[in-house]
């Protein structure tokens, strides 16, 4: 009995001291930011495009299309262009969004009543094994506590526990920064052409050669997404937005090979990777992301294809 008492008291003390530390570090500010961001370099600061888009998103509204995926999604699909064609859309893409986080966002926020069609932009880095960046960002910035908790429970990493309790500690604090690229409805963009660093790499021929292996466990999540959409009667499309010259054909071939596991699910995959032949110099601002000129061309083409009955 004494041992159980000691263990209980020890656990209680640990939790108590831990919460005191988290609360203090989250509420003592230095130069406009809580100390917890300074004492731990894995924290994602409350604010930025993720915060504003989830705050803006209305789960009671009715959307024709909702976009999900990595930063290539939130920088690749402009709701304003879709609005010009009469579509009400929203972009819930986030930085490095892993496919399991995509699935959790869908389960928490998307249903047959608010969404006609889901468009998920696929990219290899959504399927790597350890997506700490994405999960920490979402835990810090989504508006729904349930979604934040689901993301936390999906990870086996104390950093996410810290991020969650820190989130709760600063609920009453305003976001600490704005993303100057944020436009509206989840979309961010840049008008720059290829940045000097990337231009130099391109001119010297130093293209990326990513040989990372995709996680089979994460690829399987695509089936779960398909099943959820079936249950909710939500139309589902997978897309691959245009890629730059930095994205090797070999990597793309490997990626498409992995995506064959959903071949027999009859979910369309629209591959715009090289289809539009966008100029890397003029239509991208870095190795992965289109600038606004590229986005316009891509979105118009996508809308044309959607209207043609894909």
């Amino acid at each position: 009995m004494k041992i159980i008492g000691n263990i209980t008291l020890f656990c209680f003390s640990t939790v108590f001291l831990y919460l005191i530390l988290i609360f203090s570090l989250s509420n003592i500010n230095y130069k406009g930011r809580p100390l917890i961001y300074i004492t731990n370099n894995y924290y994602v600061v409350k604010g930025g495009d993720t915060y504003f888009k989830f705050a803006e998103f209305d789960s009671q509204a009715e959307y024709d299309y909702i976009f999900l995926g990595t930063s290539r999604a939130y920088r690749g699909y402009d709701p304003r262009i879709f609005a010009n064609h009469g579509y009400n859309t929203f972009n819930l893409g986030t930085g490095g969004q892993s496919i399991d986080n995509t699935y959790l966002i869908i389960k928490n926020l998307i249903n047959g009543n608010n969404t006609e069609c889901l468009i998920i932009d696929l990219y290899p880095n959504a399927f790597y094994a350890r997506p700490a960046e994405s999960s920490l960002d979402l835990i810090a910035n989504v508006s729904s506590h349930e979604l934040a908790m689901d993301i936390l429970l999906n990870e086996k990493d104390p950093r996410h526990v810290n991020a969650f309790f820190s989130r709760l500690s600063i609920l009453d604090q305003a976001p600490f920064y704005n993303d100057s690229d944020y436009v509206e409805k989840g979309f961010c963009t840049s008008n720059e052409t290829l940045r000097p660093y990337w231009l130099e790499k391109l001119n010297s021929g130093e293209l990326e050669d990513d040989t990372s292996t995709l996680s089979l466990e994460k690829l399987e999540i695509l089936h779960e997404i398909i099943e959820y959409c079936d249950e909710q009667s939500i139309r589902l499309l997978f897309t691959i937005a245009p890629t730059s010259d930095f994205y090797p054909d070999k990597q793309h071939a490997y990626f498409l090979q992995q995506l064959k596991l959903i071949e027999n699910r009859n979910t369309p995959l629209l591959d715009y990777s090289k289809k539009l032949k966008l100029s890397t110099h003029k239509m991208f601002y870095d190795g992965s992301h289109m600038n606004y000129s590229g986005v316009k061309l891509f979105n118009e083409k996508l809308i044309e294809d959607l209207k043609s009955g894909i």
Binding site: I3, N6, L9, F10, S13, T14, F16, L17, Y18, L21, I22, L25, Y30, L35, I38, T39, N40, N41, Y42, A132, K156, D157, P158, R159, V161, N162
Partner: protein, 478 residues
């Protein structure tokens, strides 16, 4: 499988539960299977090497015991040493020697293009090789009889808590423990958990946090002056100590919970008053191994040289220590610096004692500790430095621009001022309290303050400040 991973914690819990559930006679099987599983979780095929080393050492020892004469015993010992060291040598040095041969031959216009092998150094190979060599030498010198139970011997070689980075256990100490019956012991479990807790704190909160600070200094030696280099070197010394001693403490804690006692591997080395004392406090299992199996035999073979035999034995021993660390020439300098210091201390012992008698004790000890610590920092810079060229730049910087504070401010700002100050504060707090905390951990009973405030604070700090990006332990490379 790293100690600092959920996979290991899960593995350990399962092994512990099964261990205490099993009858004594089956426990060695469980531990052996668990140890092999632990090793294979890194790279399964390298278990063949571990088995090979185990088998060679085992059978050579049995044969030595049954040998008719000393000559045959020596022959069998030499076979065992050649095989075990040969494997170690191959994995550590083959590619280096191949590259050197290629450079030399190509210089003389002899065409040699072989690129070498794409091989990874097997994890823990140095540690289990040293352990088996020590065992074979003990059998040869009749310090012990050979272990007849192959399974127990295999367990001695592969015991998972200390397999990858020590402590290097003597067979006389560890093997008998595998025959003892271990019941669940609350005190041992409590102490084991405390050791693991402090080990994880040192690794996750201190050592891993220092990595970027150290890297900023050592990867940019051209850009920084002496003050920054000194700070980076100081932080590296702390990182190395925290990282390495953390592994040993976690290993001790894990073994203790299961009922086994491993030797202490570190004893607060930075309070040493001379290098001789330092090597009795730093990586103790290795330094004792070197003393017993390398230094003493060399010394004995040259005993007619008098004091010069000691000089000779020290130089050879520490030259080999340097080479063992790796193929970089800086490791050789690391080893030789230790040897020079020990030789100096040997020749100046009486003179230093004379000075000590004339000074207040606290002053002499304080100055001695400071000089020893600075010397250690300097020699550690060779350990961390990326090349001999960088080591030369470091030496130049330390002796020509030690007081360039502006430079130090640039270094700090590269790392973000407040984050740097926080990490340094945490590091200094750790240094100040390390001895006291360790004393508490060793106690069987703790006060309420320790149990309900200190340990929860340590655990909370691990959760809050720990780096969970899975950084390997430094000595995994060796």
């Amino acid at each position: 499988m790293l100690f600092n991973s959920f996979e290991f914690l899960l593995f350990f819990v399962i092994v512990t539960v099964l261990y205490f559930s099993l009858a004594q006679k089956f426990r060695w099987i469980l531990l052996l299977a668990a140890s092999y599983y632990f090793y294979m979780s890194w790279k399964a095929e390298y278990i063949v090497l571990l088995l090979f080393t185990t088998a060679v050492s085992y059978y050579m020892s049995i044969l030595m015991e049954n040998a008719e004469n000393l000559k045959k015993r020596r022959f069998l010992l030499i076979i065992s040493l050649i095989v075990n060291l040969g494997v170690l040598f191959f994995f550590k040095y083959f590619n280096f020697l191949n590259d050197t041969a290629r450079d030399v031959l190509n210089t003389f216009s002899i065409d040699y293009q072989y690129e070498g092998l794409n091989i990874l150094l097997p994890l823990g190979i140095s540690f289990y090789t040293f352990q088996t060599i020590g065992y074979n030498l003990d059998v040869f010198y009749s310090v012990r009889k050979p272990e007849r139970h192959f399974g127990i011997f295999a367990l001695y070689v592969s015991f998972f808590p200390q397999l990858i980075a020590g402590p290097i256990e003597r067979s006389q100490s560890l093997i008998p423990q595998f025959y003892e019956k271990h019941k669940i012991n609350r005190t041992r479990i409590y102490q084991g958990l405390k050791l693991m807790l402090w080990g994880f704190f040192k690794k996750l909160v201190i050592a891993d946090r220092l990595v970027p600070l150290v890297a900023e200094g050592f990867d940019n030696v051209n850009s920084y002056g002496g003050a920054t280099i000194l700070v980076s070197t100081f932080l590296f010394a702390i990182q190395l100590y925290a990282d390495f001693s953390a592994y040993s403490e976690i290993a001790k804690g894990v073994a203790k919970i299961l009922g086994y006692d491993l030797m202490d591997n570190f004893n607060h080395p930075f309070i040493s008053k001379n290098i001789t004392e330092f090597w009795r406090r730093w990586h103790i299992s290795l330094s004792f191994w070197l003393r017993d199996y390398l230094y003493t035999p060399i010394l004995f073979a040259r005993k007619k040289w008098g004091k010069w035999a000691i000089v000779y034995a020290l130089l050879i021993t520490f030259l080999l220590v340097g080479i063992w660390h790796g193929t970089k020439i800086t490791f050789v300098f690391l080893g030789l610096l230790q040897a020079f210091a020990l030789i100096y201390e040997m020749f100046t012992k009486k003179w230093r004692q004379t000075i000590a008698n004339k000074m207040p004790k606290f002053l002499y000890n304080g100055v001695s500790m400071a000089i020893t610590f600075l010397y250690i920092l300097y020699s550690f810079s060779f350990f961390r430095s990326n090349s001999l060229e960088d080591s030369i730049l470091i030496t130049q910087a330390l002796f020509t621009s030690l007081f360039d504070i502006n430079d130090l401010m640039v270094y700090i700002s590269e790392l973000d001022n407040i984050r740097f100050i926080f990490t340094i504060s945490l590091t200094l707090l750790f240094l100040i309290t390390d001895i006291w905390v360790f004393r508490q951990i060793k106690k069987e009973n703790d006060t309420r303050f320790i149990l309900y405030i200190l340990y929860p604070l340590i655990l909370g700090s691990i959760l809050l400040f720990g780096y969970f990006g899975e950084v390997e332990f430094i000595y995994f490379k060796f």
